[in-house]
């Protein structure tokens, strides 16, 4: 596992949030609902979950010594 791959996978979640704040996401994306919750809120929660999973995966790799951070 290259450190740069992990780096890129870590910072990617900032992109949709910044695009959203800047008004660059399609307006229709703000209308959808999933079990009554706006899809965009679900997407933000998904990004939080993604980052936790990524960190856990990296830790497991690092503990086994199979990650390139040394």
């Amino acid at each position: 596992m290259n450190k740069w791959v992990f780096f890129v996978l870590s910072v990617i979640p900032l992109a949709p949030m910044l695009l959203g704040v800047g008004g660059y996401l399609p307006e229709s994306w703000g209308n959808g609902k999933l079990a009554g919750v706006p899809v965009m809120v679900v997407a933000m929660l998904g990004l939080l979950a993604w980052l936790v999973l990524l960190a856990t995966w990296y830790l497991n790799k690092a503990d086994r010594g199979s990650v390139g951070d040394d």
Partner: protein
């Protein structure tokens, strides 16, 4: 009859003072006071980092932003998790391998000479003091309203408690105060979330009510009116600032080994994501559904009673009356204590270990006893100074002050630390020049931004278009450090 909030407040203070007494009996030497002897487990440290990082400004400020601007508040929820992933990737392991008591120790292994220690200590003191002031302003405003006491008395009580924790209990007491805070925070946010959904009948119904009060879909970004530059600069300040904030960095020196340091980051990531996720999913919408438009929580002019930082506390009253209000107030109070205690430890250890011990080295060096005396004196002086400054700055925006502290950390400590760890050609002069350039740029652009240049100084337009300058100051710090190091022909490094 004592009010519930006061009773819970007294209980919290009693618990933290018992912890301090217990820790004081176990702390004897420098290692105990600075890093709890390096014997904190990964799980304990993960909880303590959560307690250290999630500040009152982060909780109250992000909920207030959700109330005003909906999903734009996600910037305060996603950025810290990105910062934790990068901490795990870039900083946790080398920091634990190289550091002993302070961030100055880490840099001194890479850059010889005492000037880097003194520089790091001064930047630690400046940005930590700024962050402490922000927390104390929040504490003073909040508790003067909640407990009907004067602002000065509220700040004084917090300052005295912090001095007791740090001067007598050191890092061990601070760690356990932070763990208690993290546990209270998780319980408090869970309670608010569950009660919000129960009151609405379902999560979907909560959103129906929230969107009615908000006046539109909560799925749209853009409510804050921030430009992309400001949003990106703020996000970068939070992400990189986490890797430059000394009170967070020294937490990695309290665990026994680098593997524990990494594990503690992941524990923190799980806890912080859980807390922030619940704030985004349920607590934020609940403030709109149950606080917005309610006459009981508004002044005659339509503003929020007690200011925007009170929105979360109003929600707790709406959901659980005086008892829940007392619990959430206690969570907020413990939050402020935990964060300020962590900052006070960082400042005191930097003053004692990186300034006093280094300055006295030529005259035979400081004894452990005298260094610890300076540590205690520094705890008193820095906390008292922050209390005085917070009285002078009591009307300032705490979210702004906090974001600025993170911006300075991202522009000074972060570039030096990353280059020292990963670029063998960094020289002492390069590090000092880069850090100074980052600090100066952050300060100058702050002065020229909308808050100071327009709102405080009364000019028509800001010279710099944003209050957040990290996108400029951090790259500049890296560039100056790089150029000066390349131009610097003198051999600097002892350890490559």
């Amino acid at each position: 009859m004592i009010d519930t909030p006061i009773l819970i407040f007294i209980l919290i203070v009693a618990v933290t003072l018992v912890i301090t007494y217990w820790a004081a009996k176990r702390s004897v030497g420098r290692a105990d006071y600075y890093t709890a002897g390096g014997q904190i487990t990964a799980t304990q440290n993960g909880l303590a980092i959560t307690g250290d990082f999630v500040s009152a400004a982060a909780i109250l400020g992000s909920v207030a932003l959700y109330y005003a601007a909906g999903i734009d508040a996600a910037i305060f929820y996603i950025s810290p998790l990105v910062g934790l992933c990068l901490l795990l990737l870039l900083v946790a392991r080398p920091l634990r391998e190289l550091g002993k008591y302070t961030v100055g120790d880490v840099l001194a292994t890479k850059l010889p000479g005492r000037s880097i220690r003194i520089y790091t200590a001064i930047s630690t003191l400046i940005l930590s003091e700024l962050y402490v002031v922000a927390q104390l302003v929040g504490a003073g405003n909040l508790f003067s309203i909640v407990f009907d006491i004067s602002y000065e008395v509220a700040v004084g009580i917090v300052a005295l408690l912090i001095i007791a924790y740090v001067a007598f209990g050191g890092m061990l007491a601070t760690t356990w105060v932070q763990i208690v805070k993290a546990a209270l925070l998780i319980i408090g946010v869970l309670l608010l979330s569950v009660l919000s959904v129960v009151k609405a009948g379902s999560l979907g119904e909560l959103y129906v009510q929230a969107e009615q009060a908000y006046g539109g879909s909560l799925g749209f970004f853009g409510g804050s009116g921030m430009s992309v530059f400001s949003a990106a600069s703020l996000a970068v300040a939070i992400v990189l600032g986490m890797m430059g904030m000394p009170h967070l960095l020294i937490r990695f020196l309290t665990v026994p080994d680098p593997a524990s340091a990494r594990r503690s980051v992941v524990v923190t990531a799980v806890l912080v994501a859980g807390v922030l996720g619940l704030l985004l999913l349920a607590v934020g919408p609940a403030t709109l559904a149950y606080v917005k438009g309610e006459a009981a929580y508004q002044t005659a002019s339509g503003a929020i009673e007690g200011g925007r930082n009170m929105i979360l506390l109003h929600l707790s009253t709406a959901l659980g009356g005086e008892v829940l209000f007392g619990i959430i107030t206690a969570v907020t109070f413990s939050t402020i204590l935990a964060v300020v205690a962590g900052l006070a430890i960082a400042m005191s250890s930097a003053a004692a270990h990186d300034i006093y011990a280094v300055m006295t080295k030529k005259s035979g060096g400081a004894s452990e006893r005298s260094e610890l005396a300076i540590f205690r004196i520094a705890a008193v002086v820095t906390t008292a100074l922050a209390a005085l400054l917070s009285v002078a700055l009591q009307n300032e925006n705490i979210a702004y002050l906090s974001a600025f502290a993170f911006g300075i950390a991202a522009s000074t400590n972060f570039p030096i630390l990353i280059l020292a760890l990963y670029w063998p050609r960094l020289t002492l002069r390069g590090a000092l020049a880069g850090g100074t350039a980052g600090l100066a740029t952050a300060l100058v652009l702050l002065m020229l931004g909308p808050t100071i240049w327009v709102q405080l100084l009364g000019n028509a337009d800001p010279v710099f278009p944003s209050d957040y300058s990290t996108l400029v100051s951090t790259p500049l710090a890296f560039m100056v450090a790089w150029v000066v190091s390349l131009l610097d022909s003198a051999p600097q490094r002892q350890v490559a």
